[in-house]
Subunit: 219 residues, 2 copies
DNA sequence: CACGGAACAATTTGATCATATTCTGCGCGC
DNA sequence: GCGCGCAGAATATGATCAAATTGTTCCGTG
């Protein structure tokens, strides 16, 4: 009896984990605006979860830089200023090419095909002007690359950086459209196919610089 | 009446913040052994706090890499293997010299004197074989440097890295003693005094390599 | 008869919730 | 303009429920 209770019990990951993942996606894919306040009770109502799991998810995201706690006990989606964007750019340029270089020796035909497929979907999203899908596929593309690097620590650092510019990237795309979005992915795929770590690193470096310039340009 | 209640009320920072800081120190300064399980209820008794603040502090530290959640919902102090140490080394070499270079232009006489004082206390700690004090002063030294860099994002990334090797560093010091601990601080201080960003970066790079080699050598 | 292992029970630990308490910010009156 | 409640939101507690680990027992086998 009591089917609904049973169904809820079956849910493998704990609630605070589910809430964390949901909020993480919302931040990454621009479902939350920079500067927007995030209230616990609001999320409790929106997500239909208890306070404790929501609180834990918020602490976790705050620790990762996805959200920001402003001294008085309010939590907001962080806004980026010029200095922070510069810092983010420096950090990304320092780390992401390293990941690409580490990934290069680990590519095989299967993973390469997977990356190529993702990049194709990404191109179609750009062509159709589907910003949400672009953000999603772009993230999948880089996540696959980072997975290949077999580097959990550096991967976590980079994830944190992506969380920080996610909301702002969405805003930029909304303003600029999908015309000149960064896509050094073809160079990257060629480099990976050739197992050329240096070339892969350089392709990623350019992709990062191009993307961050876009954000910087829109203030 | 009820002085103890009054005292507790006076406590400015919220309990979860206090618990977080205490646990963070315990991890950074090796008061917890790698591999040691961390239980919520244990901390509730040890620290005399409620479950909710403890849980939040643990989530935060887990997100920062200071603790590790092993699939089954247990939390442990992470153990480093060879691969993780290599990764940590790469990440530290990629980031910390950048911070030093950014800090170099910002040094003035006062901050330089502060750094020199810290370094002196650090030397005395080494001379006396006081491992706990060494770890503490070494951290203060680098924290002061990172503060000078005016780089909150990269500072957070580096903090996360330090949290990851804190426990293991303590173990190493316990085995090796304080004889040949890394100390490129004299070179670094000279470079900072001369506002030489490149030299400061190089000094930090060598300090990092030396320190991580020590950990790597002890498996 | 001793040993190994699988199932089971008991204890420990984690997850979640309902509720009380405290703090912040805001609007009202002086 | 300034202080003083008042509403609302966050913090913190303890109870309750669920899950996992541990220890134990019992059976089958060599």
């Amino acid at each position: 009896m009591n089917n609904e209770a049973d169904k809820e019990r079956r849910a493998g990951p704990p609630v605070h984990e589910q809430v964390y993942r949901r909020l993480r996606e919302m931040v990454l894919f621009g479902e939350m605006e920079p500067g927007q306040p995030v209230t616990i009770q609001g999320l409790v109502e929106t997500l239909g979860a208890g306070m404790t799991p929501v609180r834990e998810a918020l602490r976790r995201l705050t620790a990762e830089g996805a959200l920001a706690a402003q001294g008085n006990r309010r939590i907001v989606v962080p806004m980026l200023d010029h200095g922070l964007i510069d810092e983010l750019t420096i950090a990304r340029v320092a780390l992401e090419p390293l990941l690409a270089a580490r990934a290069a020796p680990n590519v095989d035909a299967g993973t390469l095909a997977l990356l190529a497929e993702t990049d194709e979907r990404l191109d179609r999203a750009i062509a159709r002007g589907d910003i949400a899908l672009y953000l999603r596929e772009n993230h999948v593309f880089h996540a696959q690359l980072h997975g290949l690097a077999q580097a959990p620590i550096m991967g976590a650092l980079v994830d944190s950086l992506w969380l920080r510019f996610g909301p702002s990237l969405r805003v930029v795309c909304g303003q600029v459209g999908t015309r000149n979005l960064p896509d050094r992915h073809k160079d990257l795929l060629a480099a990976l196919a050739a197992r050329n770590a240096m070339a892969a690193a350089e392709a990623v470096r350019l992709d990062v610089l191009q993307g961050m310039d876009l954000i910087r340009a829109s203030l």
